[in-house]
Amino acid sequence: MKPGRRQFLKLGLSASAALFPRIARGQPAARVVVVGGGFAGASCARALRQLDPRIGVTLVEANPTFTACPFSNAVIAGLRELSAQQFGYARVAADGIAVARATATAVDPAARSVTLADGARLPYDRLVLAPGIDIRWGALPGYDEAAAREMPHAWKAGDQTLLLRQQLEAMPDGGLVVISAPANPFRCPPGPYERASLVAHYLKTNKPRSKLIVLDAKDAFSKQRLFQAAWAELYPGLLEWVPLSKGGNVTSVEPATRTLVTDFARHRAAVANVIPPQKAGHIAEAAGVADKTGWCPIDPITFESAREPGIHVIGDAAIAGAMPKSAFAANAQAKVCAAAIAKLLAGVTPSVPKLINTCYSLVAPDYGISIAGVYAPAGGQLADVPGSGGVSPATAPRATRAAEAALAEAWFGTVTGEVFG
């Protein structure tokens, strides 16, 4: 080694020691705690380790396995098993991430620590909250946790998914199924309509004298024209969508009789799927990063909370402007957030990102449609890049719809493989 180079390294060491005192003491460069092991959290934890292996990353997740929501509508319709939705954290841990199977109950932003249910405290330099959604119990009169055992929401995949499937399987032919969809915003904007489609497919195939009504708190929804054209083609007379303006808004439910009440009618269902109003997962509220809407305002470059410095919010819990609450979006946000955190920890200004979303919906097992978007920060929010994005063509041969159904499956394999495999 040339003397000049040695001299440089020596100086470099002292400079590093001043700027990054922890490195000089042989400790990790920084500690990042990620709460929530879904498409956002698990992806962010892994991306952080990949960007800078010196960062000590702890992933806090209460469940031993993750149960994915995308494709869970196919489980409800009997087209897929729940096990195909479930993923463990072994590979995440193998990346050198400390996986803490625990519930985060509190955050002290001043002390920069997360408190777990057992009282343990995890200190952090940067905290990432990726808690997904919680149901807003009580927002719909009559709908509480007990009611969800009669009228499942199935909007967090797992037992609720299986309960709704079992109810459909137990229902005699000729029964009335009712799905209620909430006002915006909520997890997975096209989700209720994909679910309606696949439930209709199940009924058409197995119980053709049955009827499905969708009671909607909105007059418009994602991929609406594509869904409605497909419903007219595939499920005429079976599936009826009732928009807000035609009395679709459910004002209360009566679980004892599985009745959904609107301003105009009472619908007594054989099977009732109530997709209720939602909010960011509880820890967001506990950390003080949720605003009065129940969701979390963020900086569109770093996903850092607009309310609490040092805390980043990604995935469904965040108010991400034009980006929908989807698994694809959560995964894309996770990588941008990880890159921003790595730079912030190094004292470098994060780059202005560009993000993508793609969401597929199945209208039937071999009939897929999609929506895509490209997003960039504008006016303090994530906005659509003008001229980009949009939905599948309004008219297309069935081969195109079949190709999109296959691509939906391919996407699921890729995103779950990238995040958990």
Binding site: A339, A342, K343, A346, K354, A372, S388, A410
Partner: protein
């Protein structure tokens, strides 16, 4: 004072290194569909190590509508020439 100047120089060298490794805007989202991990198999092509010109050409053709796509035609319209070039170069350099 001299030491401080050297320290600042080092920080910018480190920053340049981080910037080189970091995917350009938009590139990180590609792996939502195009696998990055070698453990993932998909009919959607892997981009890492692909020819820079081929990636850029595909994006330009999708954007112009001269190549049929299912979602790439809609996504490519969100990227400028410079962004496409940066993404193509970055993926071409990946292993």
């Amino acid at each position: 004072m001299k030491a401080l100047a050297v320290a600042i120089g080092l920080v910018s060298v480190a920053a340049a290194g981080a910037a080189a490794a970091e995917p350009p805007p938009g590139a990180a989202a590609c792996s939502g569909c195009h696998p990055a991990s070698s453990r993932v198999t998909s009919p959607v092509p892997r981009l890492a190590g692909m020819d820079r010109g081929a990636i850029a050409r595909a994006m330009h053709d999708f954007r112009a509508g001269t190549r049929a796509g299912t979602v790439m035609d809609r996504i490519a319209k969100g990227f400028t020439d410079a962004e496409i070039d940066a993404i193509a170069a970055w993926f071409a350099a990946q292993r």
